[in-house]
Amino acid sequence: MKNSTFSHILWTLRGNPVTAVAAVGLCVLACLAIFSAGIMPYDPIVSDVPNAMQGPSWAHWAGTDQLGRDVLSRTIAATRLDFLIALSAVALSFVVGAVVGSICGFLGGWLDRAVGRFVDVLMAFPLFVLAMALVAAMGNRLENIVIATAFINLPFYIRFARAEVNVRRNAGWVESARICGAGTWATVLKFLLPNILPAMAVQLSLNLGWAILNAAGLSFIGLGVQAPTPEWGIMVAEGARFISNGDWWLVVMPGSFLVVTVLFFNLLGDGLRDILDPRMRT
């Protein structure tokens, strides 16, 4: 009955080479994140000042930074941290946002209005500013970056889930589910949520990219991650001083990893929609 999910995925990937490239690329990055310890050529933390500020060479493919550390190793090590932050933050906001938004969209009434007001207030902040304020209030620690990123993502998921449920709420099949005995919770969780998941899954991938950008941005300005922890944002910040002198590799290496990762997440997001929507199955 479930006509092979796997063959369907392969068929979609074949039709969308770009998505395939993105998927493969993300797998490679994930491997880098998981196995970074084994892949890195040098230790990312230990300084080697005599070798400082060397441009790319055969010994150091991406050059060394101001403390002589190998830029490539640090970039690879940073992959794990950035992925972790993004994944935790998005997972948190997705789960909470989807459930809250669906219930509000389905029930309407005072709950919907109250949550709507709250979301409005939340969105009244330019979200980056809010993240700054949250980190300021809660302390300059890594966990707070995750929470701040999750929090600024939350209104988006709530609104999205609410809108999707609203559209489907009066569809014949939802009424039919009610006629067959489904109560409110069952209707929302068993029937509506699975139907809005494809649309939200696309957002997941896109939000992961956005979360990485936000996390990197926050560390760029000095919040959350502290030296000498390798993280893409903080590496760009450290390298920023030197770029006007022409030492470009400190910025370009972590910067390009950052851009490429986000790009892959965005491309994958578009491809996911094709795979998960059963309407594409023929």
């Binding site: 099949w173 009610r178 067959c180 699975p194 139907n195 059963p278």
Partner: protein, 557 residues
């Protein structure tokens, strides 16, 4: 023979799709004479709209004319450039589209849009003259208070008024040929009649020719001089309406003629050459014997929405065991709201609903699913396209109420699902498919199988065939009637189509503005209505030429 105004020969149109090139229409030929009206009839996928859009070069980007010849007033316009089309288009051929409100620019006033067209036709027109001409056009289409309408926006007008504005736009450039693409879709029966009468009158008065594209055979008999029938991109028959109805040649035309409900058709005759009902005897008498308890009684039902709007104002009626009762009304009559109240999907503001002696109005809609009577009242939905969960296979959809309300599982479940599918003529191979892999008719069958799965005693049908093609509707209606007789169901059949209700229902209730205007046996309501409103509804239904007419007999029932 005079030269036809428009002549289409062997038209072949292809569309570029993901799976390659697809033929939309092949070898299509038809012509329109000066001052005459041609009807093009077909169901969905017949290619009737595509053929005409090809003529006016309004095909979508993916469509291409790959063969044939189109000539207008002797001039070949098949490969016309935009400059030539300009003289042909606005000035000579105009179109009126369905769903008029969407076809008008929402952020531009009616007056501005009219002036745009007038100026496109005559560049030298100055503002005051254009304004006056626009006003004249609105008067010509019999819009009330035309001065006010000039400044109005489409969203401020009703569906019928938007259609009239469309017509005004179409005749602004004084065309010789008017093409109307399903102009009455989505309009109430009485509005349909006034719109079509107006169209007819304008065309006659100005000596224009018209092409009327429709799926409704009845319309063609009233307004067209010639008819072309299309199926799957091919022309299958050409004749004048009387000939078409009294002596159809092609099997498809015969099927279409049988399937079109008329004031005198019967359910058993709907499907040409086939009758599902021959071997089925009614289980219980279809007319309620006096004195027996009704299965459903509605007492003074009132439904008030937020803002004080009264959708249903004190409605009372009964449905007997095994009886089929029809509920008709135009939009805003409250019939859909009433059907939702009876299914307990919405709560009553006042009044009571008694099912088989038990009051069910007291339990709230939210909690009704726990009530034992939930399985006895089921609903067949209007739009097959959104009544099935897109993530459920047909099997899942039919099994769903069985799991939830009857608690079935395993082999018992599978057996019952197979049984229901067979009863509804649904092939077993379709059980594993998703809704987007099924046709409209198949989806309707799944919806019906789902509704009867738990053996309900009352089935509420909310316009169950409104979104289906006529031939598919015929089959579904026969199926419904067969099920009703076999299973001893009672029906509440909600519809705006009077002919269908007359065929399917023993008794009919006519609603208007939330109140019952007339109620009684279908035979008497339809042949001798007591209320003015019912009379106006009946007059709006078109008469179709019958075989009896050829022999001179009285047609009106």
């Amino acid at each position: 023979m005079t030269q036809p105004l428009l002549n289409v020969e062997n038209l072949h149109v292809q569309f570029k799709t993901r799976s390659g090139l697809v033929d939309a229409v092949r070898n299509v030929s038809f012509s329109v004479q000066q001052g005459k009206t041609l009807g093009i009839v077909g169901e969905s996928g017949s290619g009737k709209s595509v053929s005409v859009y090809a003529v006016t070069h309004l095909l979508e980007a993916a469509g291409r004319i790959v063969g044939g010849r189109i000539s207008y007033a002797g001039q070949d316009i098949t490969r016309a450039t935009w400059k030539t089309l300009r003289t042909v288009h606005g000035a000579a051929i105009s179109m009126v589209f369905q769903n008029a409100r969407a076809a008008l620019n929402p952020i531009r006033s009616v007056g501005d849009q009219l002036c745009d067209v007038l100026r496109a036709y005559d560049r030298r027109l100055d503002k005051p003259t254009a304004h006056k001409k626009a006003l004249d056009l609105l008067k010509a289409v019999l819009i009330r208070e035309p001065e006010k309408r000039l400044d109005a926006y489409p969203h401020e007008l009703s569906g019928g008024m938007c259609q009239r504005v469309m017509m005004a736009l179409a005749i602004a450039s004084e065309p010789a040929l008017l093409i109307a693409d399903e102009p009455t879709t989505g309009l109430d029966v009485t509005t349909q009649k006034s719109v079509m009468d107006l169209l007819h009158r304008i065309v006659r008065e100005r000596g224009m020719s018209m092409i009327l594209i429709t799926h409704d055979l009845g319309l063609t008999s009233e307004y067209c001089d010639d008819v072309v029938v299309m199926e799957c991109g091919l022309v299958v028959e050409k004749a004048n309406p009387v000939q078409l109805f009294t002596d159809p040649q092609h099997p498809y035309t015969r099927k279409l003629v049988s399937a079109s409900p008329t004031p005198t058709s019967r359910v058993q005759d709907l499907v040409d050459g086939e009758n599902l009902l021959t071997l089925v005897e009614p289980r219980t008498p279809s007319v309620m014997p006096a004195g027996s308890a009704p299965i459903l009684e509605v007492q003074n039902a009132v439904k008030r929405f937020d803002g004080g709007i009264l959708a249903v104002r004190g409605v009372s009626f009964k449905i007997g065991h095994g009886e089929s009762v029809g509920l008709v009304g135009e939009s805003g009559s409250g019939k859909s709201t009433l059907s939702r109240l009876i299914c307990r999907l919405a709560d009553l503001s006042e009044g009571e609903i008694i099912f088989d002696g038990e009051g069910i109005g007291g339990t709230s809609a939210r909690d009704f699913h726990k009530n034992a009577l939930r399985r006895d009242i089921q609903l067949v939905f209007q739009d097959p396209h959104d009544s099935l969960n897109p993530r459920f296979t047909s099997f899942d959809s039919i099994a769903h109420p069985l799991r939830e309300l009857d608690g079935l599982s395993g082999t018992a479940l599978k057996a019952r699902v197979a049984e229901c599918a067979a009863l509804c003529g649904l092939d077993a191979s379709l059980l594993g498919r998703f809704p987007h892999q099924l046709s409209g008719g198949q989806k309707a069958r799944v919806g019906i199988a789902r509704a009867i799965a738990c053996r309900p005693r009352l089935l509420v049908l909310d316009e169950p065939t409104a979104a289906l093609d006529v031939s598919v509707q015929a089959i579904v209606l026969q199926l419904l009637e067969k099920l009703r007789r076999e299973q001893g169901l009672s029906f509440l059949f909600v519809s705006h189509d009077l002919n269908v209700v007359r065929m399917m229902c023993d008794r009919t209730i006519v609603m208007r503005n939330g109140e019952i205007v007339e109620m009684g046996e279908s035979r008497s309501v339809f042949s001798n209505p007591s209320s003015e409103y019912t009379r106006s509804l009946l007059e709006a239904i078109l008469q179709v030429p019958q075989a009896e007419r050829a022999s001179g007999q009285e047609v009106r029932p």
